[in-house]
Symmetry: C2
Subunit: 339 residues, 2 copies
């Protein structure tokens, strides 16, 4: 029996990289879980996952999975979210969806709680969790945008393996071990050899624009989260041989001139951000330090020397792709929904 | 005895990563070397390097090293170039200097032969070889700048270990092997752990601007090579866990609107450039393919969607840091000097 203050919580995609982090975030943040129901494809059913020290059998996702469930996290494919999230909602279950299926639908709030948590006030039935690059970058953009509206963003990313799932994280290790041993490696998960290599993000290029799917998502989602439909944005998304934290170099043009020192102060006081900006020690955000950490690291805050108007600054971020880029943000959304 | 058509050539820093590539470039390009004189610090003297299949003893660099030498490549520190390049020039030896000691001196041409080879017409006694990021990026910028003057460049780099020397390349391997084995690793060469990690470039930050030494060099050198003293430039230089090819994302604003298709055509016909721009196969420049290759790879050529004027394009490059970024460009300079 579920305690009346606790919730029946389902995690769809419980055996994936994001699913595993969802379980850890629910545990360590003391989310009021009564019963935890791990769901996955029939292929993974019967495997076990651990929650609060006890093994739980993974159940095969079906149209009956959501009866009596209060809250479901979806961390699987767009197709799975499209097929099953409406069924869950119809059962009265609240959904936090990590896929991109609903992110741009006008009815679905797309939320980073520190930025636009007010979108959760009406306790919507389905909330979309943003793309990882959008979630991490908006954490740094929002504190600027609130003080001095951003007009243009140019971003280059240094994206980790985890964005392509647990299998890509394993492939990074295997490809690197092969490269160190001087052996050839045939990629199975990603389209190119990953050992000591980097490549343009492995999503399809839109022939109309030349931008890939990742870049297109980031640009559209940033506009929606910031409520700035006319914001001019260009991203270049690159996959680098790093396990689980995304980094990004951003150049941000605002409406009025701004001082890098002020931006530093805004970052230092922003919830969920950690300033790592030690020029004397040449110490700035690094994925190795962002990994496993809830905060997004920010540094290299300086005037953009290519804009003499003084309205542009550049900065560098690292944030854990599986935490603020996925599971942590989803659990924060759920916390706000049940508050 | 040296053949009268052949030259006595010294390589200062012959035991380093760039020195080794200089020897290979001189060999494979059939540079008219009569005698090859490998020079290094007293510490490395007595070691041997191979040239044209024969071992050559490395001599300790001294003030007598350049007597009778026709041409010297300097691939050591700024201090070595400052101390010994003037002595070499005084002996009537031509110098191609890979250090940054003379790059911004008005009397010293700073040359990428495909871009500003005309600066070699007067057969100057000392020619500076540019910073690796400047050399690689200017290869893509110049074909645009010639047709439609560039007004602004925003660049983010993905820089390889080799730019920090052979010891850094070894440290990348050792740090990565340790990370794969789950062992801790104490960095010796670079300031931060390099295994599956990336970090802001390890040159000192200028407190006046917030830019590091690498970024400052790239910005100043690009202006000099392009002969565009007012060009507005901002770079973010990041070291990534890749052995020897630098990649970079560039956003380029021109005087007038330009079409990505035209830029593609300009790149395809530019000497020393190779277009790798296959959207259907999601195949773009990668360090693994740029490594060991003379050409700079360029792709992801597209309109910068953040500039509605149509005057900006974005592109992505990979180029071998030790070749076009150092040794190859130096040998090309020497070829022009003796032509």
């Amino acid at each position: 029996m579920t305690d009346q203050h606790n919730l029946d919580v389902a995690v769809v995609g419980a055996t994936g990289a994001v699913g595993a982090e969802l379980l850890r975030c629910l545990e360590r943040r003391g989310f009021p879980v009564g019963r935890l129901k791990p769901l996955a494809s029939a292929r993974s059913a019967g495997r076990t996952v651990e929650f609060r020290g006890a093994p739980l059998a993974v159940e095969a996702l079906s149209s009956d999975s959501f009866a009596g469930v209060d809250l479901a996290f979806f961390a699987a494919s767009n197709a799975v979210s499209r097929a099953y999230a409406p069924l869950a909602v119809a059962e009265g279950c609240r959904v936090v969806d990590n896929s991109s299926a609903y992110r741009l639908e006008p009815d679905a709030p797309l939320v980073v709680p520190e930025v636009n948590g007010e979108a959760l006030a009406g306790r919507p039935a389905l909330v979309a969790n943003p793309n990882c690059v959008a979630a991490i970058s908006v954490m740094a953009l929002a504190p600027i945008h609130r003080r001095n509206p951003i007009q243009r963003v140019i971003g280059s990313t240094y994206q980790a393996a985890s964005g392509a799932g647990a299998a890509a994280m394993d492939e990074l290790k295997a490809a690197t071990a092969a490269a160190l041993a001087g052996e050839t490696f045939e990629p199975q998960v990603l389209p190119h050899p990953y050992g000591f290599n980097l490549f343009s993000h492995n999503t399809a290029i839109d022939p109309a624009t030349g931008y890939n799917g990742e870049e297109t998502k980031v640009m559209a989602e940033l506009r929606k989260i910031l409520g700035a439909p006319d914001l001019r944005i260009s991203f270049t998304c690159i996959r680098v041989p790093v396990p689980r934290a995304h980094s990004m170099a951003l150049t941000v043009e605002c409406e009025r001139p701004l001082a890098p020192e002020d931006v530093e102060a805004w970052m230092a006081e922003a919830a969920g951000m950690r300033l790592v900006n030690d020029a004397a020690a040449n110490r700035y955000p690094m994925p190795i330090e962002a990994s496993g950490r809830d905060e997004v690291l920010v540094g290299r805050i300086r005037r953009d020397l290519s804009d003499p108007s003084g309205r542009s600054v550049s900065l560098f971020l690292s944030g854990d792709q599986l935490l603020k880029g996925a599971a942590l943000n989803a659990v924060q959304i759920a916390e706000a929904l049940i508050a």
